[in-house]
Structure formats: structure tokens, C-alpha cells
């Protein structure tokens, strides 16, 4: 899939497929592949808690990038930071910026207006993508975003287009276009869809591929997570089938699920030309999970 040579990867997929764990492992794998990786999610540094940050033993990521373990840097994409950064670029006078950020009415407006939040997030991301080291190389070579639920992912990837309809000209418009240049260019941007080898998740994955394409977001690949290892020979399967079907034994649901998994994978393969990688099901404890996954991702999609 050659994902580690992109600048930004949107890890997306329906809830429950293991998207967050994959995003974290992908970041660790990116570091092992020699990249300066920034792992992010849309959030609030003072929010309740973040399942992504939990993987790195903390409740939340900060709004400024910092190392969180395994050589990974992380931060939240925070709308308010985006607003502030943006106002700095468009307002001519410092005192005006300060007044603007202090104005309660204005901050309430920016916080609450529909899609202003997303716009702030979008601009924060753009700033991070543009950040450079003193030698001119990007500070963050690869930014990985653990995206929210499917509907919100499409809302975000379609944001530039829908906002450009409302605001076709002006400073916002030109920054939206600059962001599109990163995200919608298959050389720099990719969505990675995480799914499971089951009928419903596969259907939803195929729908998401279409949905992302409609918003001009390049789909870099599909990661099928928790693929069970099938060690049965056809003879063994045939011999066990009557036993499994007629007795409520332990092991039966997994045995029958193997068949469903194979069918679901076949359907996925025959309905899309997007590259597909399989990630085996790990039964390791939570602490080792991200580590094991990272090794597996390094070989399967590096």
C-alpha cells in the first residue's frame, strides 16, 4: 500500500472494528519504518478521556505535539487552536487578534456555529502539515488521524467542498483549497478503511469507499482486522461440519464463523480494486496488542 510515504492518513471505519488500536499501531509501525510520525485525533485536551490516548497510558493528548511513547509524537486536533492560528494569519494587527480571542461573543460564535468547529480542526491539521524544521524538511513527515465515526468522517472530508459552495472566495476559501491539495492528492493523502471479515462490516466498507470517492478523498487501502487463522484442511472441515452443526459445543461459533469470514473476504475482494491487507486476530493482552499489531502492519502495508 506504500502508506508510509504519504503525508497524511485518515484511519476510518465503523465503530467496533478496532480502528483506534489500528491507528495507534500504524503510528508505531511508521516510526519503525523510519518516519517522524504524528498521531492525532479530533478532540479536546480537556475532554473526559480518549481511548486513543489510553493506549499510551494517558487520559488525553495535549494540543501541542509531544512524544508519547514508542517514538510516536501525538496531539489532538483542536478546533479552538485552529481558529486562533487562522485569525493570526488574516488579522493585520496583534491587538485585534488578542481582542478577538478574548471576545466572549466571538469565541461562543466560533465554538458553536455548525461546521466552524470542523473548520478549526481542518486548519489546525493544515498548520501541522506545513510545519517545518530548520532544514526545511517537514517537522511531521507522516500525520495519522484516528477519525471519528463514518458519518463524521464524510462530513469532514466533504467539508472543503461544501464550504467552498458557501464561501467561494476570500482567505478561508484559499486555505480550504490548500488543505484539499494535501488531502485529495493520492501522492500525499490517503484514507485507510478498517473493517472486519463479516458480512455487514464488508457492506459498510464498500459503501464507505464510494462515499469517500464522492468527496474526492483517495482511498489508500482496506485493512481487514481480526482475521481468524484457518488451520482446517478441507477433509477436516467436512468431517467436523455435521458435528458442529448438531451439537452446542464450545468452539462451534468460531468454526462456523470461519466460513462466513472467508465468504465476506471473497465478496470484498471481488467488489473493489482498492488494495486489501489482512491483520490476524491477536489474543494477546491489551498491553502487547499495539506492539504486536505494529509488527504485523509493518510487514503487511509498509
Amino acid at each position: 500500500m506504500d502508506l508510509f510515504n504519504k503525508r497524511v492518513i485518515l484511519v476510518t471505519g465503523k465503530g467496533g472494528v478496532g480502528r483506534t488500536t489500528i491507528a495507534a499501531s500504524l503510528a508505531i509501525a511508521g516510526v519503525r519504518a523510519g518516519k517522524r510520525v504524528l498521531l492525532t485525533e479530533i478532540g479536546d485536551p480537556d475532554g473526559d478521556y480518549s481511548p486513543l490516548a489510553r493506549i499510551f497510558d494517558r487520559d488525553n493528548f495535549d494540543v501541542d505535539a509531544e512524544e508519547v511513547g514508542h517514538g510516536v509524537e501525538a496531539c489532538v486536533l483542536y478546533s479552538r487552536r485552529g481558529h486562533e492560528l487562522f485569525l493570526r494569519t488574516v488579522l493585520p494587527v496583534r491587538t485585534l487578534i488578542r481582542a478577538a480571542m478574548r471576545s466572549k461573543a466571538l469565541s461562543r460564535f466560533l465554538d458553536s456555529a455548525p461546521s466552524f468547529n470542523e473548520m478549526g480542526v481542518f486548519y489546525h491539521l493544515l498548520t501541522l502539515l506545513r510545519e517545518e524544521r530548520s532544514d526545511g524538511a517537514p517537522r511531521h513527515e507522516l500525520i495519522i488521524i484516528d477519525m471519528p465515526a463514518t458519518g463524521h468522517t464524510l462530513a469532514l472530508t466533504s467539508l472543503p467542498e461544501s464550504l467552498l459552495q458557501i464561501i467561494p472566495v476570500g482567505p478561508v476559501a484559499s486555505e480550504l483549497r490548500a488543505g484539499q491539495d494535501f488531502l485529495n492528492n493520492p501522492k500525499t493523502g490517503a484514507a485507510l478503511i478498517v473493517t472486519l471479515p463479516e458480512p455487514l462490516p464488508v457492506t459498510e466498507c464498500l459503501e464507505l469507499i464510494d462515499g469517500l470517492r464522492e468527496t474526492n478523498m483517495p482511498v489508500g487501502g482496506v485493512l481487514v482486522n481480526k482475521v481468524m487463522q484457518d488451520h482446517f484442511t478441507p477433509e477436516e472441515r467436512a468431517a467436523l461440519m455435521p458435528v458442529a452443526q448438531s451439537n452446542p459445543v464450545f468452539g462451534r461459533s468460531r468454526f462456523l464463523r470461519l466460513l462466513d469470514n472467508n465468504k465476506a473476504l471473497q465478496r470484498l475482494r471481488s467488489n473493489t480494486r482498492v488494495p486489501i491487507s489482512l491483520v490476524p486476530e491477536f489474543t494477546s493482552s491489551d498491553d502487547e496488542l499495539a506492539d504486536n499489531l505494529a509488527e504485523s502492519l509493518l510487514t503487511s502495508i509498509g
Binding site: 465503530g15 485569525l87 466571538l106 476570500g170 461459533s253
Partner: protein, 372 residues
């Protein structure tokens, strides 16, 4: 006193099903609706995005103007008889928003004009915030109407289970009349307000360019009255959701490392917000799968083939994994019960292979729900 789910189903007017995406919230909400309708209540299930097969089973489609009943034959299959009824509606943000505008606008002509405003079109079509707001709006409207005994809300998916409550609040802050006034300067404003107005116009013209800022002003002007009304609705909604006699909040989770943390925060949040939290529902759990036996050679009958014997060893490996899962789920259910406190209960739903999209599986779920 911890009420059972079946007590909640027969006494409450609103059940709110919360939970992260992918835990099976819609299926659980539908199971609850079926169980209540079977007991003779007139039930409405408000849902956001059911799977295609579930939508087909329920007979519901996108963009419908009003709720639809479960098809006749499935009502019979599910054992729902008058006065009991089950209707479903898929929430459509744009449809609900335009309904509100029509109702609150001073005249049909002005409603049309407003809905043709460029900014309105953009804003009402965006998912974020609108889904949450319209879910609450629809809930509120239907409860006022008195056509249903029980409304079950399947909340929009979000990272934190109670985010949807924040959507309406954010939107109502946005539509706060005082903010509009800053956009639409008038002679009557005092010095402070004028200063704030002028700051906002300078900032926003710089941000959006003069032309779009003009559109924004027009938009705010046109919507000022309508959204003052909406703000009032939003604050009333907050009040009626806090009624412990009429409302119950349920958290649906699935067996995952995050389940306990989710549960902890849900209980804390509902307590802080004074919302009547009543149950954790652990979905897709194997906690009750106790009737299975370990696969041994005697299952294979006399003189098993070599393939059957070598296959059995592999089947036993799968069995070991499942036994471990049952133990984990039982422990999780116990821990959820401890976290639930003295007002709420914890229960588990089985893991139905292939999901529960047909009436037969939904009935199974309904049965487990009321027997808890």
C-alpha cells in the same frame, strides 16, 4: 430500588439508548421497542442510521415525512396486537429543520425565502451538530403530540455516549438572540454592544471576505425570530429529559477493553447532568452461554476418520478461546453491575451470529431484555 427493564418498558414515556458506534445500539433499541409494543404500548422508535436489512425488516426508508408502522405480517409474527403498535422513523436532519422553519416562520412565503438562503442550505445539510439537534427536536415534538405511549431514541453515534446532548446546546448557543444582535447592528445598541459588533464585523469580514459576511448578516437577520424560539425549545428539552418518572437512560456497550471506562464515565456524566440513568446493557456478550459442552472424541461416533480426529484437536483450540471469552464476559458483567450503583442494573444480550436484522432474532433479544 432498581427497576427491571420490563418495568421501565411499561412505565416510562422516553427511553434514550446511548453508546459508542458499533456496539449494536440500534438493534437493542429495536428489541426494546418490540418488547414494549408486545405489551400493548403504542411505541415509536426514532433511529438515525439502521443497517439496510434492519430498515427493510422495519419497513422504513430514508426521507419519509412521517413514521411508518411495522408491516402487518411482521406485527403478527411479533405478537403485537392493538392497542399495541410499533412505528419507526429515520431521522433526517434536513427534513426536520425545514419542518421547524415552516412551523415557526411568520408566513409560508418567508419560510420558502429562508430555506432558499445559501447559508441555510449549507448549514442544515452538514452532519455535525444537526443530527444531534434534530434527534432531540423530533423526540420533543413526538412526546408533546401524545400519539405514542413510549418513544425510544437511538442516539447518533459518537465517541462519548452523551455527546448528543451537547449538540442541541451548542446549536442553541449559536442561535442565541444576543449573538444575532451583534451581527445586525442597530441604533438601540449601547456602547459595549456596538464595540463588540464592530469587532465581530472586522474579524469576520477579514475571515470570510466582505461578500460572504454580507450573506451571513442576511442569514442571521432572517433567522433571528425562528431561532429564538428554538433556543426556548432546547432548554425545555433539557428539563424533560431529567424527569426520573418519565425517562430512562440506557448505555449499550460491547465486550471491549473500553467498556468499563465508558460505563464509568457514563454514570458520572448522567449524575452530573441529573439524568435518570437506569441500565448498562452489555451487547454481543457470551456471559450467558453456559449450555455448551467441551468438544471431545465421543462426539465423533465410533471409528472416527483420521481427518475427524486431527480436526477435533483444532476445534478444541477454538473451544479454549471461547471458554476464555465466556469467563471474561462474565467478569465484565459483574464489574458493570458494581459500577451501575443502586439506581441502575447491568444485563447482557447474547451474540447473535450475523447480527440481528430479522424479526425472529429481534424477538429473541426482546425476550432476553424483558426476562432480565
Amino acid at each position: 430500588m432498581k427497576p427491571t427493564l420490563s418495568e421501565l418498558l411499561s412505565t416510562r414515556r422516553i427511553l434514550v439508548c446511548c453508546g459508542a458506534g458499533g456496539v449494536g445500539k440500534t438493534t437493542t433499541a429495536t428489541g426494546l421497542a418490540l418488547a414494549a409494543a408486545r405489551e400493548g404500548r403504542r411505541v415509536l422508535a426514532l433511529t438515525i442510521d439502521p443497517s439496510k436489512r434492519l430498515a427493510e425488516t422495519l419497513g422504513v426508508e430514508r426521507n419519509l415525512k412521517a413514521p411508518v408502522s411495522l408491516p402487518e405480517e411482521r406485527l403478527r409474527q411479533a405478537g403485537i396486537e392493538p392497542p399495541g403498535s410499533l412505528e419507526t422513523w429515520m431521522l433526517d436532519p434536513q427534513l426536520i429543520a425545514s419542518g421547524v422553519v415552516r412551523r415557526l416562520a411568520p408566513s409560508p412565503e418567508s419560510a420558502e425565502r429562508l430555506m432558499n438562503n445559501r447559508i441555510y442550505k449549507g448549514v442544515s445539510g452538514m452532519v455535525a451538530g444537526m443530527q444531534e439537534y434534530t434527534a432531540m427536536q423530533a423526540l420533543y415534538d413526538f412526546v408533546q403530540e401524545d400519539r405514542y405511549d413510549l418513544v425510544i431514541l437511538d442516539t447518533p453515534p459518537s465517541r462519548n455516549a452523551l455527546d448528543f446532548l451537547d449538540g442541541p446546546r451548542r446549536l442553541s448557543r449559536f442561535f442565541d438572540g444576543r449573538i444575532f444582535q451583534l451581527f445586525v447592528p442597530s441604533e438601540e445598541q449601547g456602547f459595549v454592544q456596538r464595540a463588540a459588533s464592530s469587532l465581530i464585523s472586522r474579524v469576520l469580514s477579514a475571515v470570510f471576505g466582505e461578500e460572504t459576511f454580507g450573506d451571513l448578516q442576511e442569514f442571521f437577520n432572517a433567522f433571528a425570530t425562528i431561532f429564538t424560539q428554538l433556543t426556548r425549545n432546547a432548554s425545555q428539552m433539557g428539563e424533560f429529559l431529567a424527569d426520573p418518572e418519565g425517562v430512562a437512560f440506557l448505555l449499550v456497550t460491547s465486550p471491549s477493553p473500553a467498556a468499563l471506562t465508558d460505563a464509568f464515565f457514563f454514570r458520572k456524566k448522567t449524575e452530573e447532568m441529573n439524568l435518570p440513568f437506569r441500565a448498562f446493557i452489555l451487547n454481543r456478550s457470551q456471559a450467558y452461554d453456559l449450555d455448551r459442552v467441551y468438544p471431545t472424541a465421543d462426539l465423533l461416533g465410533p471409528a472416527p476418520s483420521p481427518a475427524a480426529l486431527s480436526g477435533l484437536a483444532k476445534l478444541q483450540e477454538l473451544a479454549d478461546l471461547e471458554v476464555a471469552q465466556v469467563k471474561r464476559d462474565q467478569k465484565l458483567l459483574r464489574q458493570l453491575g458494581e459500577k451501575a450503583g443502586d439506581q441502575a442494573m447491568a444485563m447482557a444480550l447474547p451474540n447473535l451470529t450475523g447480527g440481528a436484522n430479522d424479526i425472529a432474532s429481534l424477538l429473541k433479544i426482546a425476550n432476553v431484555l424483558v426476562s432480565s
